[in-house]
C-alpha cells in the first residue's frame, strides 16, 4: 500500500509518501519549500500559506518518493484538531484528490499522528505502552491500549508545554518559536533559580503558574542572568513532564514509554527522559526531531493503520477544531 499523507492543521504544510506501515519514501515540510520558493516569507496566517504551498508540497513529496499520482492507493489527511481555516485547505484537497484518482480517503486526528510518529521511529513498537504528546498546542499523557485505541490519563489545564517555552522565550526577549532558543540560552546558564515545578493534580499538567513565576522573577530581579532564568525554567518545565511520566510508570507498570511532539525535540528533555528510563528500566521511544515536529509521514502512517482497521472515511467527513482521541 502506498499512502499519501497531508497535514495542514497549523503552521506547516506537509506531505509524505509512506509504503506499508512505516517505510517513509518522502516527507516534505513547507517551511523549507516556502523558504526556497517564496523568499523566506511565511505568512503567520496559515490558511493562505497552506493554499499557496499545498500543490508544490504534494508534488515534491511524490517526486522525492519517485511515484506518480496513479501509484497512490490511499490518501490520509488531518481533519482535526487544528485551526479551521488551515484544516479547510488540506481536507478538501485530499477529498478532491481521492475523488479524481478513485482511491479511498482517511481522516486522521493530528494527535494520533504524533503517536504513530513513535512507530515510524521504531517499527517493531507494539501496544500497550504509555505515551506523552508534548507540543505547542497539546500536552497529553495517555495509554495506547492498541493502535487506534487510547485511554487518556492527563492533559494540561491551561498552557501547553511548548507554549510555555514560547511564552517564556518572549519574556526573555528571544525570537519565536522559542523552544530551541530557550534550550540554547539555557545551556549557558545555571539552574540557580528555584521555580516551582507545576503540579495540577492527578495526571494533569499546568504551565501557566510557571510562566507567571518567570514573569515575577524578571520584574523583581531584572539584573538576573537571562541564561540562568532559561536554564531554571527549563529544569522546572522538564521536571513537571518527567515527574508525571515517572508517576504513570510506577502506577501502571508499563515498561515502554513513547514521547513525541515538538517539545520532544528538546535535547535537555530527551536527556532527562533517558536518565528516567535507565532508573526505572523502561524502554524509551522518542522519534528523531524531524518526526517530533509536525510532519505528514506520521499522518500517512496513521491513515494506513486506520484504513486497515476501519476502512475509508466518508467523503463528507468534516473538519473539527478539536476532537478528543477515541
Amino acid at each position: 500500500m502506498l499512502c499519501l499523507g497531508i497535514e495542514t492543521s497549523c503552521d506547516e504544510t506537509a506531505a509524505s509518501v509512506v509504503r506499508g506501515q512505516t517505510a517513509v519514501l518522502s516527507s516534505i515540510v513547507s517551511s523549507q519549500l516556502v523558504h526556497a520558493e517564496y523568499g523566506g516569507v511565511v505568512p503567520e496566517l496559515a490558511a493562505r500559506a497552506h493554499m499557496q504551498a499545498i500543490v508544490p508540497v504534494v508534488e515534491a513529496a511524490l517526486a522525492e518518493a519517485r511515484v506518480t499520482w496513479s501509484d497512490l492507493s490511499l490518501v490520509a489527511v488531518t481533519n482535526t484538531p487544528g485551526l479551521m481555516g488551515a484544516l479547510l485547505v488540506g481536507l478538501p484537497f485530499a477529498k478532491a484528490l481521492c475523488y479524481s484518482l478513485g482511491v479511498p480517503f482517511v481522516g486522521v486526528n493530528h494527535i494520533e499522528g504524533h503517536i504513530f510518529a513513535l512507530r515510524l521511529e521504531q517499527p517493531e513498537l507494539k501496544p500497550p505502552f504509555l505515551a506523552a504528546v508534548l507540543s505547542g498546542g497539546h500536552t497529553e499523557l495517555l495509554v495506547v491500549e492498541d493502535w487506534c485505541r487510547y485511554r487518556p490519563l492527563g492533559s494540561t489545564i491551561d498552557d501547553a508545554c511548548g507554549e510555555a517555552f514560547d511564552k517564556v522565550a518572549k519574556l526573555l526577549g528571544l525570537p519565536y518559536p522559542g523552544g530551541a532558543e530557550v534550550e540554547k540560552l539555557g545551556r549557558e546558564g545555571r539552574e540557580s533559580i528555584e521555580f516551582p515545578v507545576p503540579d495540577a493534580g492527578g495526571y494533569d499538567f499546568s504551565f501557566s503558574g510557571l510562566k507567571t513565576a518567570v514573569l515575577y522573577h524578571r520584574r523583581d530581579h531584572p539584573e538576573a542572568s537571562r541564561a540562568d532564568v532559561a536554564a531554571s525554567f527549563q529544569r522546572a518545565a522538564v521536571a513537571a513532564v518527567t515527574g508525571r511520566i515517572e508517576q504513570a510508570v510506577r502506577k501502571t507498570g508499563f515498561r515502554v514509554v513513547g514521547v513525541s511532539g515538538g517539545v520532544a525535540a528538546n535535547g535537555f528533555l530527551r536527556q532527562r527522559l533517558a536518565e528516567l528510563a535507565r532508573r526505572h528500566e523502561f524502554t524509551l521511544v522518542i522519534p528523531r526531531p524531524a518526526y517530533c515536529t509536525d510532519n505528514a509521514a506520521m499522518i500517512a502512517a496513521t491513515g494506513v493503520e486506520r484504513f486497515t482497521r476501519f476502512g475509508p472515511s466518508e467523503l463528507d467527513l468534516p473538519a473539527a477544531p478539536r476532537t478528543p482521541l477515541g
Binding site: C10, E44, L45, A47, R48, P81, G82, L83, M84, G85, G136, G137, S155, T156, I157, D158, D159, A160, G162, E163, D166, K167, K170, L171, Y176, S208, G209, K211, T212, V214, L215, Y216, R219, P321, R322
Partner: protein, 150 residues
C-alpha cells in the same frame, strides 16, 4: 462605565470572571488587554464557567480560536500569534464577532479595527501583590460584583 478591581489570587480572578458574565448577553464581545502572564486566560476560565461551559478552558494561543458550548456558544479567541496587519477574515474573526455567541478575545488590541463600539474592555496588569483589573464599556454597570467582595 468603568470599574476597577484588585485580585490577589488566580481563584479571585476566576471569581471576578464569573461575576462579569452576568452582564453579558448574546452577541457580546469582551476584549481582554494585558501583557503575558497578566491573567487573561485565568479570568476567561471564570467567564466561561459562568456561561455554563463544562470543559477545561485552556489557552488557545496555538489554535487561535477554541469554541465551547455553554448556555450560549462561547468563542475563546487569542490573537497572541497574530499582528495588527493580519487578515482576520481568514480566521473568520468577523463572523465570530457578528455571531450570536459570546466572543472572549485575548490580545484584542491587535484587532482593534474590527471590534464593535459596544465591546466590554477588560484591562489587566500585574501589581506588587496580584492583579489590577479594569472593566469598562458603554453597557457595563457598576454592579459587576464578585460573590466575595474584592
Amino acid at each position: 462605565m468603568r470599574v476597577v478591581f484588585h485580585t490577589s489570587s488566580a481563584a479571585e480572578t476566576i471569581e471576578l470572571g464569573r461575576a462579569l458574565c452576568l452582564q453579558l448577553k448574546p452577541g457580546d464581545v469582551v476584549a481582554f488587554h494585558g501583557e503575558l502572564g497578566a491573567g487573561k486566560t485565568t479570568m476567561i476560565k471564570g467567564v466561561a464557567a459562568g456561561l455554563g461551559v463544562a470543559d477545561v478552558v485552556k489557552s488557545p494561543s496555538f489554535v487561535i480560536v477554541t469554541e465551547y458550548a455553554g448556555r450560549l456558544p462561547v468563542y475563546h479567541i487569542d490573537l497572541y500569534r497574530l499582528s495588527e496587519s493580519s487578515d482576520f477574515g481568514a480566521i473568520g474573526l468577523d463572523s465570530y464577532i457578528e455571531g450570536e455567541g459570546i466572543c472572549l478575545i485575548e490580545w484584542a488590541e491587535r484587532a482593534e479595527k474590527i471590534l464593535p463600539a459596544s465591546a466590554v474592555r477588560v484591562r489587566m496588569s500585574v501589581e506588587e501583590e496580584g492583579r489590577r483589573i479594569e472593566v469598562s464599556g458603554p453597557n457595563v454597570d457598576r454592579n459587576v460584583q464578585p460573590a466575595r467582595g474584592l
